[in-house]
Symmetry: C2
């Protein structure tokens, strides 16, 4: 009996590392007679797994009448048996939600229509959509449990320990999506959150967070008599600090509810199945950290992946994977790794809702190879092959062909070749499953920043977290990749972020930083660590309470954005001012013993300083928030890091910023990936240090392509 | 003495058609010693014109001290003489505003700093930025007039009638940009608008619009005692009909103010110069119709062009010209033509503020050729070549190199080749200046819709005008181009829109349509015209007063969007439901004698009907608002038009929706442009009817390229 395990490095089959390579085949759409053909084509492309939604609404069209009728389109049992026969592992995705452009997201009509009380509501208690459900509503849970009790036994027959190939079960789908994407907020269903109930979820959450109502009132600027009387802040765009605190609490409460929901589903599943990995697909990379609470609750059997789409229609921002998109994908995968998972894209685009703009072979292959360069260890193509929607169950189309590699009439489309190419690459390079990316810079990020967009608009803090995230991927990361750096991303909440005292630690910061993190940074500096913090110095802790531990240690003052746009930024002893495309932060206070490092050349206002601390420690505050636009920014980063004693060693050097070069190594060899994500051929020279000496190569990469070069080690 | 004229078809030099082919060389940045070299390189690339800003702040650094010092960087006179020597026409752009990433947009520091009262303000009377000026503020006008009085004599020496080559003068720059883009609204400076003053501009405007205060109060739901007491609606996002009406008035008032400003500048200029064409560059295509009032006031000496950027930084939505972008460019050029101008792009990207993401040769050339296919008659590259900013005048950078074709150290960059290629093409195809695009469909649009985004959020009208614009370029136009149609765009406010009774007229409509237009459509139908109106039937006139002339004639009822998202749409006798990626509109009323044509297959609600009117007239209402995503949508459009008697004749047929084929003809020949705006080579078959019979060709177009094919006529 085969056994699948995973860690942050890889998936393992009976202890042997492998790439998870999967494609979605919705059995309920593909005509039964074509099941085998489609599965075989998937396997032929090099896949080792198949994935499918199992829509509740399809199997239980009338309440209480669940059917998996043999020899019909509903014959899940037959499909799973066939998967085993063809030799593919299976990801079962029984919902409750599927999305998948199914009517009511795959929920039964009767559920959405007859039980309006289960709908998620906005903060005025108004439901905004019939299929956006309040996950923990008791009636929804009661009905959903019956569905799990019906579908799990069918799946259970086919799990690995029962001789089948079902190895993964996905719990629900892109949780939070139908709330956040539809009305831009969370679920406030009063019955679910137990508003104004002594033992309600929300009062309970607040009580465990604040202990006394006085503490809460003090924090909120309110005078509620007790926890059961607390109203949530009725805003998605807080405009005061008090509002922001209430909003932030609701955000964390939401993540706890989502975790409780996932745990509930996991328990229902666990009543039948204990030999499967329980997975979930975060809707986008930026949502990955929403599932930290879930990861804690579900423990080792849980595996989070992310969905990475670059084009689902002409209204999307681009038609193909751009460097800006891929930089976000990198960050998404690093966050998954930081959370303990092998970076996996559980929905990797192989088609699109419409047929235009097209998903081309070139784009698809380039996207996959770029993901591999950055450390992807698994992917599931969405979708590999589809077909007609069950009657009245489609929400966008009758024939859910999805411009997939295999069309709904068994046509083999040109981009099937891309799947084959990637499959062949993975097969021929199985050892790369355990490869590591060679890194040079160290950037420590706070997942709390990524997931808390609670001040979308700046409410006087100086920097919204959406802006900070933009700085991270368009500023720091694009600067790094264009400068052929390959940064290691560290979790600032873990001790390992502070282990290395010789390499500077780059810390993007807003006005908010957890108290413990501030203290750890102080300790790091005291021990001789080197810190580059930008663009702000924190002044509040994780509860948005005043906290200036770090600033006090450094002796720095308040940092605030310049009041005029497009300032210049000049650094002492550096050269000409730096192109900005961003904003500058100023401070009135040069810490005692610190040296002025950067300023606005027009007003001479202080925008950066450097300061030596104890035991050889050193800190630089750089009040600069940029989008990458020029090599001068790379040189600036290099210069600033060199002042922190950085040796400037890069894993790879490439002289063309439009070519991003990433080196991956195993014990025996190194593979260099050079990606060109533009529409024109690009040339450059790449060089790297090998045991055999420095090697330099002139390369030309065609438009939208990833070149791979091999080096023995 | 050469004479330059223009009409909607072309520019003419002494009556002979020519393409206006220009590049920006800011003389104040390019070192004096390099002026000749840069100008010559521009001419060598095939250009016939050079353009330059003349920054007020550069020439008048202290109030009253205007200098054009000979033999210095300020020697405008010398530069203009050199332009004539090299043999290039000149566009002078003396402001007052330049933008151009100059500090204070090129205005003098002393003006922006010492006269805060001239700043534009938000609707709370607060200024939002020191260089966003209230155009008609008396102090600003007083200072600006002195600048014009100083600079115009220098320019005047070099105009055509004085033996020089200055042929164009640009008045200000992207008017409205520093208001709308900075804070998202217009200028409400109380002194400029004369708030609460009996003869103030705003009271005066309202008086001329409403005549009596009772009429205004009735329309606004207010009770102001007289016009001098009327407050403007303090909102950019009206939420009630009354608010929308006040907002709409302020919008029109703004356009009048901008026109008055342009007319003022034109008069100042006219005191010195009468032999130049006065131009203005609209900031983006969607702003073109903002200048309708200006065009009326300035008359035949005025020429509006537009600025078309696809990438000014990594935070832009795409890095290269996409089909979605080019569809908007097409619409922009059609609007310019409708307004009486030869479609001209006065800032056509040849570089970018930063060097990344790059402007590549491939992208640039493809963008230019696509524009030519769609009817561009003139372009000015922004910028052709730059250099260091005058001291303390740069806002983004010291060296304004702009990644231009010729670098600030005289380097010749690879994309210079693209300029040469386009230059050669224009030179070898001078006859195409008079070429016409072969058209088939007819779409009548309302420029008022394009420029009135007053209900950004739908306030119960059923459709915001931003959404309608999106439907126009992502829905109708992308459907047309992907289906190898080449629509003629007509101005619905002109009688010519209603001349052709045999070809169906496609009219995209919101809930708002001018009374006269509604009446004209009724008359059109009465005479036997064929009308396709979508997605709404109008129910208000241009003042947002109830007006259902068209609906009453047809006997139709209210049209409103479906309450659930992603509905399906099915048409009688058509085939399977159509992929939507949009929304459906429903009505409760099937007009007497009309036939049900379209419906939502799940609820069966009526979403389209067809009705025969008088004298063979026929109308179809199609309650469908889509983004193009599938060929089914093209077939639907074809089907609907065929029911209106459309013969289905296309100028060109192309079987690959990813290749957009456009035919241009002169008296003697036809040129077919086939554009591929994706990152992968595309193939297809194009065919067209020529006098010699039907000709079909297999073609392959490389990624991001425009293929041209010649046919004799």
């Amino acid at each position: 009996m085969p056994k699948i395990t995973f860690d942050t490095d890889s998936y393992y089959l009976d202890g042997k590392p492998f790439f998870f390579y999967s494609g979605e085949i919705p059995y309920f759409r593909v005509p039964r007679k074509d099941w085998r053909f489609r599965l075989q084509k998937l396997k032929d492309a090099g896949a080792n797994c198949v994935s499918t939604y199992i829509p509740w609404g399809f199997h239980e069209p009338e309440e209480g009448s669940v059917s998996f009728e043999p020899d019909s389109q509903k014959d899940l049992d037959g499909f799973l048996a066939l998967c085993a026969e063809v030799g593919l592992f299976v990801v079962c995705r029984p919902g409750p939600h599927c999305y998948s452009e199914l009517r009511f997201e795959g929920l039964p009509d009767w559920l959405c229509e007859n039980y309006p009380q289960i709908r998620a509501t906005d903060f005025d208690g108004k439901s905004f959509r019939s299929s956006s459900v309040s996950y923990l509503h008791p009636i929804f849970l009661e009905k959903a449990k019956k569905w799990f009790d019906a579908v799990m036994p069918v799946i259970q027959k086919h799990t690995l320990s029962n001789g089948g190939t079902v190895a993964f079960i996905q719990l629900d789908n892109e949780i939070g999506g139908t709330h956040e994407w539809i009305w831009g907020g969370y679920d406030y269903n009063p019955e679910t959150i137990g508003l104004f109930e002594e033992n309600g979820r929300y009062p309970h959450f607040l009580k465990s967070r604040y202990h006394s109502i006085e503490a809460l009132n003090d924090h909120y600027g309110t005078d509620f008599p007790d926890f059961a009387h607390v109203e949530y802040g009725k805003t998605n765009n807080p405009s005061t600090l008090y509002e922001a605190r209430r909003y932030e609490d609701y955000l964390h409460f939401t993540f706890e509810m989502e975790a409780e929901y996932l745990e509930t589903l996991a328990n229902w599943c666990g009543a039948y199945i204990n030999d499967c990995i329980l997975i979930h697909n975060s809707g986008t990379g930026i949502m990955n950290p929403h599932f930290q609470e879930a990861a804690r609750r579900l423990g080792k059997k849980f595996l989070l992946g992310s969905d990475h789409y670059y084009n689902l229609g002409s209204h999307w921002p681009q038609n193909n994977p751009t460097p800006q998109f891929v930089s976000q994908c990198f960050l998404s995968m690093e966050m998954l790794r930081m959370m303990g998972f092998p970076p996996s894209i559980f929905e990797f685009p192989a088609g699109s809702i419409g047929s235009w703009p097209p998903i081309t072979r070139q784009d698809l292959q380039c996207d996959a190879m770029a993901h591999l360069a950055f450390g992807m260890k698994g992917l599931n193509y969405y979708i590999f092959s589809g077909g007609p929607n069950p009657e009245k169950m489609g929400s966008t189309v009758i024939d859910y062909d999805y411009s997939a590699p295999i069309g709904s009439k068994n046509q083999i489309r040109p981009h099937y070749k891309a799947l084959e190419e990637v499959g062949r690459y993975l097969e021929e390079n199985r050892d790369l499953a355990l490869s590591k990316r060679a890194t040079d810079l160290k950037i420590a990020i706070d997942l709390e920043h990524v997931r808390s967009d609670y001040y979308k608009q700046d409410i006087g803090f100086g920097l919204g977290h959406k802006e900070l995230y933009q700085f991270l991927h368009l500023g720091l990361l694009c600067t790094a990749f264009c400068g052929s750096y390959s940064p290691e991303i560290l979790d600032i909440h873990t001790p390992s972020a502070f282990m290395n005292l010789s390499t500077p630690l780059i810390v993007p910061s807003s006005a908010v930083m957890a108290k413990s993190v501030q203290q750890n940074l102080v300790n790091f500096l005291k021990k001789g660590g080197k810190l580059l913090i930008l663009p702000m110095l924190p002044e509040m802790d994780e509860f948005l309470s005043p906290c200036t531990i770090l600033r006090d240690y450094l002796g720095g003052g308040k940092t605030r954005p310049f009041s005029y746009d497009m300032p210049l930024f000049e650094l002492e002893q550096f050269g000409p001012a730096i192109k900005s495309q961003g904003k500058l932060y100023e401070t009135a206070v040069l810490p005692d013993g610190a040296k002025r490092l950067g300023f606005d050349p027009i007003t001479s206002k202080l925008a950066a300083w450097e300061e030596e601390t104890e035991n050889g420690g050193k800190a630089i505050w750089l009040g600069f928030h940029w989008n990458y636009c020029d090599e001068g920014q790379t040189r600036m980063l290099e210069f600033v890091l060199s002042r922190l004693g950085y040796d400037g060693h890069k894993a790879v050097e490439c002289d063309n910023p439009n070519l991003w070069a990433i080196l991956r190594t195993t014990k025996s060899r190194a593979v260099l990936y050079v990606m060109n994500l533009f529409t024109q051929e690009m040339s450059g020279t790449v060089s790297l240090n090998l045991s055999t000496g420095r090697e330099a190569k002139e390369i030309t990469v065609p438009a939208m392509d990833v070149l791979t070069l091999e080096f023995p080690l």
